[in-house]
């Protein structure tokens, strides 16, 4: 990367700084300053109680203590993780299988482009509109109930929106639909990068498709697998649009589908800036730690 630049005339290089100005200026103004002020806010008591404005008063770490002791944060964290896992497990299994099939030359599947185009499509759909669509389709008098009843699978409309399992299930299912195509394509890129002579050698040695998958493909795929998992986890922690629209921000039934970002959004709307700040900092720390893992694994891959 460095060696071909030696001949270059030195004074051009100051343009490196000039070309960096827009990025750095916008980053500092719209991300750095807001981030610092978010952290600053987290140490203050600052909210509205009725018409009265309380604070801002410096209270140290009291907001953090309140987040952990008031009992809501662990619950919303658990909700977020449950819905993420419910969506991620089928997503990674289906994606691995599809990627293995698409890249398996002995299978030579036809219409690959068609299938890839279709499975990627839900990823581009506006999540809020998709959630609204599911809300109408799974309504008590909606088409899904109507179809199930006409097939005599149920005699009365199933109230999808009133059961913990069905609401969480719908959120997880939507996340699965929206992301399995993306994951398949990422894993495919990883699989296509594997030296094909390895597969040939294994075949000559009499390994079957399953052995090849678990003994060769999976170990080589590990870095990309970790990347997919952690980025998905970071994305999962940011889960918002789908449950927010589906439950109209309530996280019902009994706030069982309320996610961390929905909780943050609630504090932002009610102008409880102290709690919103503390929650943001906790999210920042978690995603920061997870990002470091991704950073490490991708850096290892390059060397």
């Amino acid at each position: 990367m460095e060696k071909h630049k030696k001949s270059r005339i030195k004074r051009h290089n100051r343009y490196g700084y000039i070309f960096l100005i827009p990025f750095m200026a916008v980053f500092v103004i719209f991300q750095m300053i807001p981030l610092v002020s978010t952290i600053y806010n987290s140490f203050f008591e600052n909210y509205r109680s009725g018409l009265k404005q309380i604070g801002p008063n410096f209270i140290g770490l009291a907001n953090y203590a309140k987040l952990f002791t008031s009992g809501d944060l662990p619950k919303y964290f658990a909700n977020t993780m449950i819905m993420w896992i419910l969506g991620f497990v089928p997503q990674i299994v289906v994606s691995l299988v599809l990627a293995a099939w698409f890249t398996d030359p002995s299978l030579h599947l036809k219409a690959q482009r068609f299938f890839k185009t279709v499975i990627y499509l839900p990823n581009l759909i506006m999540a809020s509109a998709f959630a609204m669509l599911f809300f109408t389709l799974f309504a008590d008098s909606g088409p899904v109930n109507s179809i199930l009843m006409s097939m005599h699978l149920i005699s009365q409309p199933y109230k999808f929106m009133s059961h913990v399992g069905s609401v969480r299930g719908m959120v997880a299912f939507m996340n699965f639909l929206m992301w399995f195509g993306n994951t398949t394509i990422l894993l495919m890129a990883g699989m296509l990068g594997i030296d094909s002579s390895l597969f040939e050698a294994a075949e000559v040695d009499g390994a079957n498709a399953r052995q090849i998958f678990f003994r060769i493909t999976m170990p080589i795929l590990k870095p990309i697998f970790v990347y997919v998992m952690i980025t998905s986890l970071i994305g999962g922690l940011q889960m918002f649009d789908v449950p927010q629209i589906l439950t109209n921000g309530s996280g019902d039934p009994m706030r069982s589908s309320m996610t961390l970002i929905m909780y943050l959004n609630k504090h932002l709307y009610s102008k409880n800036y102290g709690m919103a700040g503390a929650l943001s900092v906790i999210l920042l720390i978690i995603t920061g730690l997870l990002s470091m893992v991704v950073f490490k694994t991708t850096a290892d891959k390059k060397d």
């Binding site: 100051r14 991300q31 599809l98 506006m126 075949e203 980025t231 927010q244 629209i245």
Partner: protein, 289 residues
């Protein structure tokens, strides 16, 4: 290799065929799962409120135009919403691709102190979600008197680490230093080189990233919902949320479906033409769900 396995060929062929049939069945099921929702959406958009109340039929009815007309002339400003979405998403795509290419070019083409540190820094901030600084962002925008304005939703796109990373990688394999050297000898200025030589060479990468930025901005709900409160400034996702929070049973359900169709189908339609570039560009990375 075929010769080695000659005696097993017959059974191998048999299992390969079975596996192929099995994989086609799974793929067809998944295709069905991906598309059925949009099919039902389309059918229901063609039916009147009365017909919708009678239960589902898979055959389209005749009220498509009527529903769309009612929705566009209804209480929520969907036409204006689409225009707002188009402007914000379009400008975001423009800003993020142009300035990310510029940032990547700075790192790619020049040698200066702190370059490596800056590169590492940009990669390190790639994963930080926008939500964690939302509180400070809203306060800042409010202090700048930019609430209900396009700017706070467009300008931050200038600093897009993911787009930067893609551009940088593309430059590493597609932008030879010798070409820039030649332009410099011809006496071209640095900005001129960037705008007239580098940008055209980056077209394929710019196209891919413009699509991705456009779509993610088009679909974005969290930030616009915090910034846009005036009815005439709202984007489509914010209007969808409003539709959801309205007492929806009183609505004409035909209109509700028409509104969802209006938000979803333009993207599907564009995707049919651009799918080749989109599916090819996915490996660029970034945060996912």
């Amino acid at each position: 290799m075929a010769a080695v396995q000659a005696k097993e060929e017959k059974t191998a062929k048999g299992t390969a065929r079975g596996r192929r049939i099995f994989s086609y069945i799974i793929l067809i099921i998944l295709t069905f799962l991906c598309l059925i929702w949009f099919y039902i959406l389309f059918i229901n958009t063609t039916r009147s409120n009365g017909e919708l109340g009678k239960g589902f039929t898979p055959i389209p009815s005749t009220h498509l135009i009527e529903n769309l007309y009612n929705m566009l002339h209804g209480s929520l400003p969907f036409v204006r919403g689409m225009l707002n979405s188009l402007i914000i998403a379009g400008l975001s795509a423009l800003f993020s691709t142009y300035f990310s290419t510029m940032t990547a070019y700075a790192i790619h083409a020049y040698d200066f102190k702190g370059k490596k540190a800056i590169y590492t820094f940009i990669l390190a901030i790639m994963m930080i979600p926008t939500q964690v600084s939302a509180l400070g962002f809203v306060q800042l925008v409010s202090k700048m008197n930019l609430m209900d304005h396009y700017l706070p939703l467009v300008v931050p796109a200038v600093a897009s680490p993911v787009v930067f990373f893609y551009m940088k990688q593309y430059m590493d394999s597609n932008l030879p230093a010798s070409l820039l050297e030649a332009a410099r000898i011809d006496g071209a200025g640095e900005f001129r080189i960037f705008n007239t030589i580098v940008m055209p060479l980056m077209k394929p990468a710019i196209a891919v990233q413009a699509i991705f930025t456009f779509v993610s901005s088009w679909n974005n709900y969290f930030t616009p919902a915090l910034i846009l409160h005036k009815e005439s400034m709202k984007t489509l996702p914010v209007l969808i949320a409003e539709l959801r929070s309205a007492d929806w049973l009183k609505f004409d359900m035909g209109q509700v479906y028409a509104a969802i169709t209006f938000s979803i189908f333009p993207v599907i339609f564009v995707y049919l033409f651009l799918s080749k570039y989109i599916v090819g560009g996915v490996t660029a990375g970034g945060v996912k769900g």
